[in-house]
Amino acid sequence: MRRPKVIPEMYPTPSCSPIRRGDPLRSVDDMQITTTDLGLVARVTHLSKQFGEGPGAVRALDDISIGIRRGEFTAIMGPSGSGKSTMMHVMAGLDSPTSGEVWIGDTEISRMRDAELTLIRRRRVGFVFQSFNLVPTLDVRGNILLPFELDGRRPTADESVWIEHLTQSLGLTSRITHRPHELSGGQQQRVAIARALATRPDLVFADEPTGSLDSRTGREVLALLATAARDYDQSIAMVTHDPIAASHADRILFLADGRIVDDRGATAAEDISRIMLGMEAAA
């Protein structure tokens, strides 16, 4: 197995670390250890991302080191502009970091070229975006099978059974030949979830997946994501600024001004709101 070149000083020093004791990242300080050994599906070390140069530059991510745990539903929370989307884009290989390292499983992707990154996105991560998730020219089946299609292969027998199961449990069976514009917003998001889960990726990234849904449909979508993490052991990282959405997660990372300022387990929506209000007040 390829060993990452982890060196002790790459981990955050306690003074600036928002990560509390007991976190896997902190307990391995001096060991040569891989992402997988840590029980993580993805992690970033000393990740910074800057947009622009000179006085107008924006530091969207500021020296973040964090890991996403395998099989968990992780929410990334924070006020608007705190860097949530940027963090997701960099972790998912959609954008490159200014400095720091990004790992998907045991693969370091931060220095990869576009073609390699494309393959990582195709094979190892899944996406659910806020809107415009589906290719308008393809029907529901075509959209769900798109990742396989892009890979130039058909699903194996095993995968076909899985896709069939997904379509059924997401209630899409009767919609299978419909085009995106014939579906409601909630149905479109369910198709996107089916597509994201279809290849059983290491990690599914969801950016405000309920952002353009009404609250009831939004709750359904969140429940589906939580179920996928629990029942299928699917690791999911969801970006959101909605406390109710975050309350479905097993773990919540709080971002403010491009830094991780808090990291906690499952939390009730009211408490999340309180933390968020505190963060806004501090800002």
Partner: protein
């Protein structure tokens, strides 16, 4: 007020200006050429009756200019329809805050008039410059007799005005969709539910089918009459115009099956498959992009086939080999000139297709960004655009060739049937067909260069960021 908000991107109108300039320059050059020829012939004492020459020349000039203007009008109407499709959200927003659909549409048409006038004047300058240069070099090199040639005849303003007005009218026709945009399209709709899929004019379908049916019936009648008298050509001519208008009007019914057939031939790779889906998914869009080229290729092929059939028949009836060679030569030259003149419309159509493909790539930024995010490599994206362009060109050229051979044969049959007393086989002018095919291949490459480059620079992050 709100109308200003509809102001467009300047590059939206580049193609319309080019098309207007090409049409107007063509008309001006044709007029200048016939003027020059008439003047030159007038100096020749051997050729008398230069009024006849003038008459023939002006008929030829009008016919070919009108063909160019007609193709240009169709291209421009389609360009405007594409622009409107891309501005649906913007229009919906304006409607939402109270803009009247009629006013918005008039604003679009006015844009059309403006760019039409601009293009037509550019064409006038180019056409007059070409004529002046030809006179200068002709008289000094000796292939033109020296005479008082007039470059700035008032008559050359006629094609300029015709082109400007036609562009205006085309913009009006092409912007019909403005009135079908509902304010609701501005809110909700996570997916671009494009108006193409919503709008299937039943009346238009009926008109198209009726026209085509009646036209083909007339065409058949013309061929039958042609067996006894060349007057059959007149009947066939109307049959041809009617049926072809039906095909153009019903392009959204005709093109998708052809595109699907061609798409299948490109194999099962994801880029090819998606390209085929794209071409077929929005029949309005793909037929808009291709119909101009179908018209161009049909016209060129029709002329060439009719001339070739005519030539074959004439040659078979001449026994003297010297005479036959002379006739053959003059007919070949005539065919080449006519095919070239008609071919100019194909160039106008090509401009339209290149533009349509670029616009549609611009309009599909988010879709391309999504594909990139999900794992389409930039090479696959480039391949998809190239394939899309190739599929559309192949489909348009194939359909144009088939239609052209058919119409050319029908024309030849109607005029020559009474002489041969039977059904003649269409003569296929292979050199011209080869030029059409090679031109089509070059076109599909040219049409895909700019859009595919743009498509590969689409950043998935930017494309997917919710505005």
């Amino acid at each position: 007020m709100s109308i200003r908000a509809l102001s467009s991107h300047p590059r939206d109108h580049v193609a319309t200006i080019v098309v207007a300039a090409l049409s107007s320059a063509f008309g001006v050059v044709m007029l200048e050429a016939s003027g020059i020829i008439a003047t030159a012939v007038g100096t020749d004492e051997v050729v008398s009756g230069s009024t006849t020459v003038r008459l023939v020349l002006s008929v030829v000039t009008s016919v070919f200019t009108l063909i160019a203007v007609y193709v240009g009008a169709i291209v421009t109407a389609n360009t405007f329809a594409t622009i409107i499709a891309g501005r649906t959200r913007q229009i919906a927003l304006l409607r939402l805050i109270g803009a009247q659909a009629g006013r918005l549409r008039r604003a679009v048409a006015t844009e059309g008039l403006l760019v039409g006038v601009m293009g037509a004047i550019v064409g006038l300058v180019i056409g007059a410059a070409i004529a002046a240069a030809a006179i200068a070099s002709g008289t000094s090199a000796g292939w033109l007799p020296s005479a008082d040639y007039v470059v700035m005849e008032p008559l050359i303003l006629l094609p300029v005005a015709v082109v400007a007005v036609t562009t205006w009218a085309s913009a009006w026709v092409g912007s019909r969709a403005v009135t079908t945009v509902t304010p609701l399209a501005a809110v909700g709709a996570a997916v671009d539910a494009r108006l193409e899929s919503a709008r299937r004019g039943v009346a238009r379908n009926i008109a198209a089918i009726t026209l085509a049916g009646a036209g083909f019936a007339l065409l058949a009648l013309g061929v039958v009459i042609g067996l006894s008298t060349p007057i059959g050509l007149l009947v066939s001519f109307f049959g041809g115009v009617l049926s072809f208008t039906g095909i153009v009007l019903g392009a959204h019914l005709v093109m998708p099956p052809v595109l699907r057939l061609v798409g299948r031939a490109f194999g099962p790779r994801p880029a090819a498959r998606l390209a085929a889906e794209n071409a077929v998914r929005f029949p309005e869009r793909s037929s808009r992009a291709t119909i101009g080229l179908v018209i161009g290729v049909t016209l060129v092929t029709m002329f060439a086939v009719a001339m070739a059939s005519y030539r074959a028949m004439i040659l078979s009836s001449i026994d003297d080999p010297t005479m036959a060679r002379a006739v053959d030569q003059s007919l070949t030259v005539t065919t080449a000139i006519f095919a070239g003149l008609v071919g100019f419309s194909a160039i106008i159509a090509a401009v339209g297709m290149i533009n349509n493909l670029s616009l549609s790539v611009l309009q599909r930024t988010r879709e391309l960004g999504l594909l990139r995010a999900l794992g389409f490599t930039s090479r696959q994206v480039r391949g998809m655009i190239l394939t899309e362009s190739a599929q559309m060109t192949v489909a348009a050229v194939l359909l144009g060739l088939v239609l052209g051979v058919f119409y050319g044969w029908a024309a030849a049959q109607s005029i020559l049937g009474s002489l041969t007393h039977g059904i003649i086989a269409p003569a296929l002018p292979w050199p011209i067909i080869a030029i059409v095919v090679i031109g089509g291949a070059a076109l599909s490459l040219a049409a895909s260069v700019a859009p595919s480059r743009r498509a590969t620079t689409v950043s998935p992050v930017v494309a997917l960021t919710v505005q």
